[in-house]
Symmetry: C2
Subunit: 417 residues, 2 copies
């Protein structure tokens, strides 16, 4: 493959972002120069345009999380407040500005009758679809596992709700008159690595074309896709964990088997009993697991989850009427049917009211009004979908060596005055 | 294979049960002779020793279900009250009496270093293990799917709790010094068909040896295994649906792949999205599905479920203190953490009290005391386990062409006087 196809980004980005990258690197070096090697630079120093309230977990590659307060402050998570989990250190892309590259090419190949390449410019002229999804790192909540698995210590902020705009893979194949071989069972994506990193290759089950509006996304929240979030083009499958929503897409390959690359196995997997009725196989906390394609599955569909966004943990609120508020989401395969709140340690649960519109893959905003006398409280929330999938009371039941897919019932302590 | 191995049963049974079988056939013919072709004979006429209150769904092969009242009347379901779902018409075995055959041979073969045969007599001299399990037909509840799938119209009675006694497969292999080939991923069982029926072959994932106490059972509820329930020897895997607990075992084969026989596919399967976080793939009610080993899974681990056994549907009870009672169970992979009852259409749920001891694979007896004024009520029950698996409010979400694995929230209407 010619270098200018494999790394179409590097030179253009070099020109465009030279000054910004230099500025960020300088800021980071400045901090280290002050002898604060363990202190991270602030989010806006690491990625231009990010809210400094985001918490930086790593600056190379960039990993930063949002906060419960920021998540509760807007209906759609703005690009300034959205978490970042990059696996590849691409300093040239550390900005929320767009990555304008009309000539960027995506190759569609593998088990199709006519492989082809398409540029971002051509993609932008095909029919566009919008979908609002909950984007979440599969490591979100990792800090709550005990013992703490290795990896970035996410709390609750590795999640956000964003609106994508792009071309459905289905639409693209139809527009090009390209047919899939019936043997195709996976979609395997390749990210541009700018030549400086290991190949980043991930597979989805091909069913995401039907169930998850899989698309080549060019836009986010009504703007061109920010560089740090995968611009100019990202593969988005609504309802799946962030890890499978590969950024800076160069190749989409239809394959019979899932990738056996490092990002597919052993990374980003959870133990399973093949064919059993359980989303993960519980393993002994602290134990090791020899991940294979057979005895584990990739972080694909997001498991059901719900957060309390107000009151904030440790806060004081005025009584007696307290509105407990938050969000809930799942993989979109079936609607969330009830979101229940308990303020008596789980003895009684009462349905919260689901507010306003939510897309199939967006989050459900809910409010649970309670009459509470002055005192200390702990609220718990639990979402259940129409399939009977809910959250474990103690998320540690899912302890896994790599700390993925935490969805334990959230508990928030607050004071009513 | 010599005839006396393949069909070790027929002659001995012929001698032993000649009179009983004749009597049953006579009773059945008698009813038909009275012009009641559509009326089934009673349970005790079809299977000697069964409670006539059981509901006969088919007499050849024998299919009969128990009732909520009978299930609530005893802690361990007696052989008289236990449902029967036979796939093979074996008139000689239609009795709850034991099937005494010390010379009956089971062949252990496939991916083992030393294949061997063992008789029931030899099995009875190895260390025995007892396990109490919920045995349930995977078609139990089929009648509640809408539109009604074809197959036996089970309501709630295709379930019971019994205590098995037998030799763990693990113990057996150890005792014989036999090692499994690491390639072995399934256990494939063969039932004796007495030469008169199609082979009945089923596979389990090999993990049932570790997680489900898979055993060659020789006894049930402290007695030799009744003939109609699989005597002299049945493969039992605690926590799995009845279909995989193959009766009249002649061969246990360790295999790399699951059987592709008719009983394994397309029968006894539910649609799945491979690798997704959902126990079944929801399909459009009334639609067809082309079952393959890839796009579906066998009825293996029982999904979580709970029944109200008192008050009975439509009954009147004295108030104000009403004790709502019932049972709940799952596949035993993790404990059931809460069993909740609602009497206000699901707006509030309150934890029931779990009573007494229950094994890992047995059912949990629960009681929810409520103060209820005279009037009409509808109680709902929902069990949730430590893995966050619960029941759908509307079980029809799992509608599948063959009507398996119903576990919708049970609703019982009753009157308080």
């Amino acid at each position: 493959m010619p270098r200018n196809h494999e790394h179409p980004l590097s030179e253009a980005m070099d020109r465009r972002l030279f000054l910004k990258r230099t500025a960020v690197a300088g800021a980071a070096l400045g901090l280290m120069g002050r002898g604060l090697a363990q202190q991270q630079p602030t989010a806006d120093q690491v990625v231009q345009g990010k809210n400094p309230k985001l918490v930086v977990l790593s600056s190379r590659p960039v990993v930063m999380e949002s906060t419960l307060e920021l998540l509760g402050s807007e209906r759609i998570t703005s690009k300034a407040n959205l978490f970042v989990r990059n696996n590849i250190d691409l300093p040239g892309l550390n900005t929320t500005e767009p990555n304008v590259q009309p000539g960027w090419e995506v190759e569609i190949t593998g088990l199709v009758d006519k492989p082809f390449k398409i540029t971002v410019d051509e993609l932008s002229k095909l029919p566009q679809t919008e979908v609002t999804t909950v984007l979440q790192c599969s490591g979100n909540g990792r800090s709550f596992f005990n013992p703490r698995p290795s990896g970035n210590p996410w709390t609750y902020g590795g999640v956000g709700q964003v609106t994508w705009r792009g071309v459905l893979l289905k639409t693209l194949l139809e527009a090009k008159g390209v047919k899939l071989d019936p043997k195709a069972r996976f979609i395997t994506m390749n990210a541009s690595t700018q030549g400086g990193a290991q190949p980043y290759e991930k597979s989805y089950p091909i069913s995401v074309m039907e169930h998850n509006s899989a698309m080549l996304a060019l836009g986010m929240n009504g703007e061109p896709l920010p560089a740090v979030h995968g611009g100019p083009v990202r593969l988005v499958a609504a309802g799946t964990f962030g890890t499978a929503n590969v950024k800076w897409i160069t190749k989409v390959e239809f394959t019979e088997k899932e990738s056996s690359g490092n990002e597919q196995v052993p990374r980003y997997r959870v133990p399973v009993l093949p064919g059993w009725n359980t989303p993960i196989l519980p393993t002994q906390p602290g134990s090791r697991y020899n991940y294979t394609l057979d005895n584990s599955r990739s972080n694909w569909g997001a498991n059901i989850n719900s957060f309390i966004l107000s009151p904030l943990p440790g806060s004081s609120v005025r009584g007696r009427l307290v509105e407990i508020r938050g969000v809930a989401w799942n993989d979109g395969l079936a609607p969330i049917e009830s979101i229940e709140v308990s303020v008596d340690s789980g003895t009684t649960w009462r349905k919260a009211v689901i507010e306003g519109d939510h897309g199939k893959f967006g989050w459900y905003r809910w409010v649970a009004p309670r009459l509470l006398s002055p005192g200390e409280y702990e609220a718990m929330v639990r979402a259940t979908d129409a399939l009977g999938r809910t959250q474990p009371l103690n998320g540690n039941i899912w302890w896994n060596e790599r700390g993925y897919e935490w969805n334990g019932v959230m508990r928030v302590k607050f004071t009513v005055t």
